[in-house]
Amino acid sequence: MRSLFRIFPRTPAFVALLLLAPALTVRAQDPRIQLTHLDHLSARASETVDVSIDERLIQLAAKIFNEKDEDEAQIKKLVIGLKGIYVRSFEFENNNEYSAADVDTIKSQLREPTWTRLVNVTSKREGNVEVYISLVGSNINGLTVLSAEPKELTVVNIIGPVDLEKLAKLEGSLGIPNLGIKSSKKPKDDQ
């Protein structure tokens, strides 16, 4: 072994990298973002909403929603495969109650290669709305909406296979606020 290290002096570093790589990959692909950095805003916000629907609750929803009820049947179909829905929303009395640094605590987690920002997204919200998706291969495994309005900051983090269309259908249910998000890009010809 010593002779191997002598022949290939970088072998220990390479071995360490090989050992660490799976852990780093798993971490890099985790689409759950930390929202606790925003907790301090509750003290300044006039209204704070915090929704946490983890995998157990989603499985529960998928199990108990009634297929005979049109609404519930739709939600049931949409939540199958999801692993979590997390929402933090802060409403403020005045402008500038949250800082760019607050927004950056979220944006800093939404970096490539895990996250890709979607362009061509519109929302009925006034401020800046950004939508990010997390991909594993060609499959979406997470979506995050960051809506920064002058008097409102909202972050929606959905874990699992979800796209804009699904998000639009889930708005108003399961604690997901009505963001009016849609793609401004016309869909390709129907197949």
Binding site: S42, R44, T48, V49, V51, R56, L60, G175
Partner: protein, 182 residues
């Protein structure tokens, strides 16, 4: 005779209220949450008979506690209710929220939490499975009042709660408290 009958009826109603509340008062997270509120805000919760003296309708309270009007959301007889009235709930709600979440995290799933600095109102909804049913724990703290409700609900009603968690939590509390019946 009439007076004796009235006393008997009142006694029966009061005893059933005491039984209904007392039977649930054995070591559970419900009690821990009530104690936590008492310690954090230096307040005391009131039992239902006490509230009755304060102008509430005892028969109505008994019916509610035993599931009479709660059948819409909660299973009959499954309600645990603690109320705090006319007390001061000024305090660091962020610190309270953290303590509550830390205490509940091992057995309960948080569903929704809302804080309103404007109205000084906090709402917390937790869920946990209980066989084929569910326990819902709702904590609502306002400026001068607070309510802690734990109820057993069917899977069907959990679905309704999850569809609109904020309104669902309010409905459970509305049904479990006395004031709204008036």
């Amino acid at each position: 005779m009439k007076r004796t009958t009235t006393i008997c009826i009142t006694a029966v109603v009061l005893l059933s209220v005491v039984y209904a509340t007392g039977s649930h008062a054995k070591g559970d997270d419900f009690d821990s949450v009530v104690k936590m509120i008492e310690q954090f805000y230096s307040v005391k919760h009131q039992s239902l008979p006490f509230l009755a003296k304060a102008g509430m309708k005892v028969a109505g309270a008994a019916a509610k506690v035993r599931g009479g009007e709660l059948k819409r959301f909660a299973e009959a007889g499954s309600i645990k209710l603690a109320t705090f009235e006319d007390q001061n709930f000024n305090g660091d709600f962020i610190a309270f929220r953290k303590s509550l979440n830390d205490a509940m995290s091992s057995t309960w799933m948080p569903l929704i939490q809302t804080l309103s600095a404007t109205d000084a109102e906090q709402t917390y909804v937790f869920l946990r499975e209980k066989g084929d049913k569910f326990n819902v724990l709702v904590v609502i703290i306002e400026q001068q009042d607070a309510t802690v409700v734990q109820a057993t609900v069917s899977a069907r009603n959990v679905a309704l709660l999850m569809k609109d968690p904020e309104q669902g939590a309010k409905a459970i509390t509305r049904e479990a408290t006395i004031h709204d019946q008036e």
